[in-house]
């Protein structure tokens, strides 16, 4: 561990990182180039990590803005010298007059610009809005630091010369934060926690109920995280999780956030997909045991979810697949399996389709079919923990069938 990491630990990193969007937004609004401003701020952050433990500033935000501006001036001077142009001077920054929420939203729109690929949007958001270092982002995605540095600088170059003063697409921002959240379950860095922090900031900056829906969905899923893997790192399915391990504080916050989002909706303005998915997660979180799960209510929300698209089988097969499970629990395994049949064409080659069929066959007591479906799912899995889990499910279903047959003939 470097000395830099050590000093970072002694600082309140969260507080430092929370200043990033404010300072960066101030620079960009003043007319600085996004790419150069972001680089300058990264340097200022590294300097803060060095200097602050010894000499904490009175106003951290002003300190960062001043140092970043100095870096920008330095960079421009060398640029100017190279081009033999006349030297220019720049004023020290004035304190930003805008609200913190506005800055976050403004920067999220910059980083989630439609000109960028999703992977770049996520990386840039985590660095420019989340204040993570390139190293931390690289670790989260299991790629070398140099690769991530390239991805980020390419993304920033793609933003060069584009107008960044117009409101962006909030739906893209929400998707990017959700991507960051789901990536956070796999990596070493706690991206899930970071995505929740950013979503919380976003809800302060916009009235859009879907922002609340997204935050609620993340919180309600994150609450179950401590129970999702056992001590050996094995996946524990929802119905077998120790519900005592769920984070009740997170659940309660998720429900509160969801309720205030839903309260903004009306007959004319139906809840969007994040609110609907959060409602489903809330119903799972609310059940004291797997047996007490309110499947009819869950199915009703899935009906709403699939109704959000014109052709859900093609446009949102994941929702149809989730609904098939609910159908299986409410109307019986055979009905659930019939639902999955409609999905054979678009996602019949994906492991999740086979895994859901395995679950439904097991629910209906057809263990040989369940074992075959789980084995098919394992063959198609793209994640080691999931593959191992599906191999176990297949072996378990086969063993249960063997002992049942043995009991019959005894």
């Amino acid at each position: 561990m470097s000395a830099l990491d050590e000093s970072a630990r002694r600082l309140d990193e969260g507080a430092l990182r929370a200043l990033v969007p404010r300072v960066l937004a101030g620079l960009v609004r003043r007319g600085e180039d996004f790419d150069a401003a972001e680089d300058a701020l990264q340097e200022a952050l590294l300097e803060a990590l060095r200097a602050w433990p010894e000499h904490p500033p009175r106003d951290g935000q002003a300190w960062l803005a001043t140092v970043a501006t100095r870096r920008l001036v330095d960079a421009r001077r060398s640029e100017v010298a190279r081009h033999r142009r006349e030297e220019q001077t720049y004023a020290e920054p004035r304190p930003a007059a805008t609200e913190a929420g506005d800055d976050t939203l403004f920067l999220l729109f910059c980083c989630c610009h439609p000109a960028l690929a999703p992977a770049s949007q996520v990386a840039l958001t985590l660095r420019a809005v989340g204040g993570l270092t390139t190293r931390e982002i690289a670790d989260a995605f299991y790629v070398p630091e140099a690769t991530m540095a390239q991805r980020i600088s390419r993304a920033k170059r793609a933003l060069q010369g584009r107008r960044l003063d117009q409101p962006g697409d909030l739906a893209v921002v929400l998707r990017v934060l959700y991507l960051a959240y789901t990536a956070g379950h796999a990596g070493r860095m706690d991206l899930a926690g970071e995505a929740i922090r950013l979503a919380r900031q976003l809800t302060l900056a916009t009235e859009e109920p879907e922002a609340g829906g997204l935050l609620a969905l993340m919180l309600l899923n994150h609450a179950r995280l401590p129970a999702r893997l056992d001590r050996e790192g094995r996946i524990v399915t929802l119905d077998r999780q120790d519900r005592g391990l769920w984070d009740r504080r997170e659940t309660a916050e998720g429900v509160r956030v969801l309720q205030s989002a839903l309260a903004m909706q009306s007959e004319e303005r139906r809840p969007g997909r994040y609110q609907v998915e959060a409602a489903i997660a809330a119903l799972h979180d609310d059940a004291a045991s797997a047996e007490e799960t309110d499947w009819p209510q869950i199915l009703a929300w899935y009906d709403d979810l699939v109704a959000l698209t014109d052709d859900p089988v093609r446009q949102d097969p994941a929702a149809v697949l989730g609904r098939a499970v609910a159908v299986g629990h409410v109307l019986g395994a055979a009905a659930g399996l019939r639902e999955t049949d409609r999905l054979r064409d678009p996602i019949g080659e994906r492991h999740r389709w086979h895994a859901v069929r395995g679950h439904l066959h097991e629910l209906g007591g057809d263990l040989p079919a369940a074992a075959t479906a789980y084995a098919e799912a394992a063959r198609r899995a793209t994640n080691v923990a999931e593959r191992d889990h599906l191999v176990r499910q297949a072996a378990r279903a086969r063993a249960a069938e063997r002992s049942r047959t043995a009991a019959t003939y005894r």
């Binding site: 050996e232 790192g233 074992a371 789980y374 084995a375 394992a378 063959r379 198609r380 899995a381 793209t382 080691v384 593959r387 191992d388 191999v391 176990r392 297949a394 072996a395 378990r396 086969r398 063993a399």
Partner: protein, 136 residues
């Protein structure tokens, strides 16, 4: 220190020591024992400072070649997709010697199989070419 890839295969390699069914057909306790052993191998190599990385590959294989100017890439799933060699993944280790790499490979191959006895799986040991000039 030389680096080695210790590769496991889905298919291919020398004649197996003994035939065994795919893991999805093993008894659940044998599956657990097998997975626990491989986890232990990873931890052991890490503790000894020899582990560089572990990677698993999905069995879906696509061969791709340049299709020529203005043509799409040419793809195929292989000449003999059912019998050709298929790498499943493996360990990258950084060890003192070739002997140590062989020792680690043999240890991996002792992984428990169906019934709990050793699987005697063939492990493909490949030295990784060094990027820096050698000192000799």
């Amino acid at each position: 220190m030389p680096k080695y890839l210790l590769l496991k295969h889905y298919r291919g390699g020398p004649e197996p020591h003994h035939p065994f069914p795919p893991m999805v057909e093993w008894a659940p306790e044998d599956v657990e024992a097998h997975m626990a052993f491989l986890r232990h191998v990873g931890e052991l190599l890490e503790e000894r400072g020899e582990l560089v990385g572990v990677q698993a590959l999905t069995p879906a294989q696509t061969w791709v070649r340049y299709g020529g100017p203005d043509a799409a890439p040419v793809t195929t799933d292989g000449p003999l997709p059912e019998t050709s060699d298929l790498v499943a993944g493996g360990y990258m280790i950084d060890v003192e010697s070739h002997e140590r790499a062989v020792e680690v490979a043999a240890y991996i191959s002792s992984e428990p199989g169906p019934g709990g006895g050793p699987l005697y799986e063939w492990i493909d040991v490949r030295e990784v070419m060094s990027g820096s000039p050698s000192d000799d």
